[in-house]
């Protein structure tokens, strides 16, 4: 089993955005759009962001930070790079929005721009487009965040025949204003890494964002 190393970690909760353990942004008000507030707070310029559903928005934001120190520009093609994500609620947040466009028979206008986001793996596609990532992209769904499953997925992603050197891997969940994101950039290269990838490290980073009562 080849060792894997964490190079960057982003945690987004209902009201906090953290990068490598540093608190970058705190949500200003309960009734604000948290994804849009983060976009503005990070001073990003990517107009397509506003077309995305919430799941893609938070996945995109996490990837922006996780890719910050990757050492090459977003424009550089990354053939040996993968995006492997999991969550619990799939694209349900946006599915509910789409259902609203077809629910009323007297006002029945199914929206293609909403429908396209009714698949969870679109977020892997949005991230791949932004960073020219051309390796494997996959989206899996399970009931609850599980460091062991995440480790298994990472292990599968680095199986030698795939020729993958680096990946974005993590948990990206968004449903009705509840945001739960933990995204890692990991590689088989230990240089400049924060730590080795272990189930305990993954748990620790996840818990770091759990609100203390």
């Amino acid at each position: 089993m080849e060792k894997k190393y964490i190079h960057s970690v982003v945690r987004i909760t209902n009201n906090q955005l953290m990068h490598n353990g540093e608190l970058l942004l705190t949500r200003s008000a309960e009734d604000s759009s948290w994804p849009v507030e983060m976009y503005r707070g990070l001073h990003l310029q990517y107009p397509k962001f506003f077309k995305m559903d919430n799941l893609c928005k938070v996945g995109f934001l996490a990837a922006e930070l996780a890719m910050k120190d990757v050492g090459v520009s977003p424009e550089t093609e990354k053939p040996d790079f993968s995006v492997l994500l999991l969550n619990s609620t799939s694209s349900l947040d946006n599915d509910i929005s789409y259902q609203q466009t077809i629910a009323d028979e007297t006002n029945y206008f199914p929206s293609p721009a909403v429908f396209v986001y009714t698949l969870a793996n679109i977020v892997t596609g949005e991230i791949a487009i932004r960073h020219k990532i051309k390796g494997e992209t996959s989206f899996y769904i399970q009931e609850k965040f599980s460091p062991a499953t995440l480790s298994d997925v990472a292990e599968l992603g680095f199986m030698p025949h795939k020729g993958i050197r680096e990946m974005l891997i993590g948990w990206v969940d968004f449903l009705e204003d509840k945001c739960d994101v933990l995204l890692f950039r990991i590689s088989v290269n230990p240089e400049n890494s924060i730590s080795e990838w272990t189930d305990e490290e993954v748990s620790r980073w996840y818990e770091a964002g759990v609100q203390k009562k």
Binding site: P47, K48, F50, K51, F109, P110, S111, P112, A113, V116
Partner: protein, 85 residues
């Protein structure tokens, strides 16, 4: 026509989530697709929905839209001739 053009620009910004744009940013005669607004195939489909929802105009497919979505002005002219609501 000018009020329809302004109304259309506002609707396009709203429907296509062109969050950081204002009607003044959209040139009435500039091509909607290709460069400029950076619209894509999903936007074209969404414009078809806009035509039906707001003006009662039904287009069968996206290729029919191509000649109509040349610019906001061409769109407005088509709407004023064909609208049913």
């Amino acid at each position: 026509m000018d009020s329809l053009i302004l109304e259309l620009k506002e609707e396009i910004i709203k429907s296509l989530n062109l969050e950081e744009m204002t009607p003044e940013d959209i040139d009435s005669d500039a091509p909607l697709f290709g460069e400029g607004l950076g619209l894509d195939s999903i936007d074209a489909l969404e414009l078809i929905v806009l035509m039906e929802r707001n003006y009662g105009i039904k287009l069968a497919n996206a290729s029919e839209g191509k000649s109509i979505f040349q610019s906001v002005r061409v769109m407005a002219e088509y709407i004023s001739k064909n609208r049913t609501k």
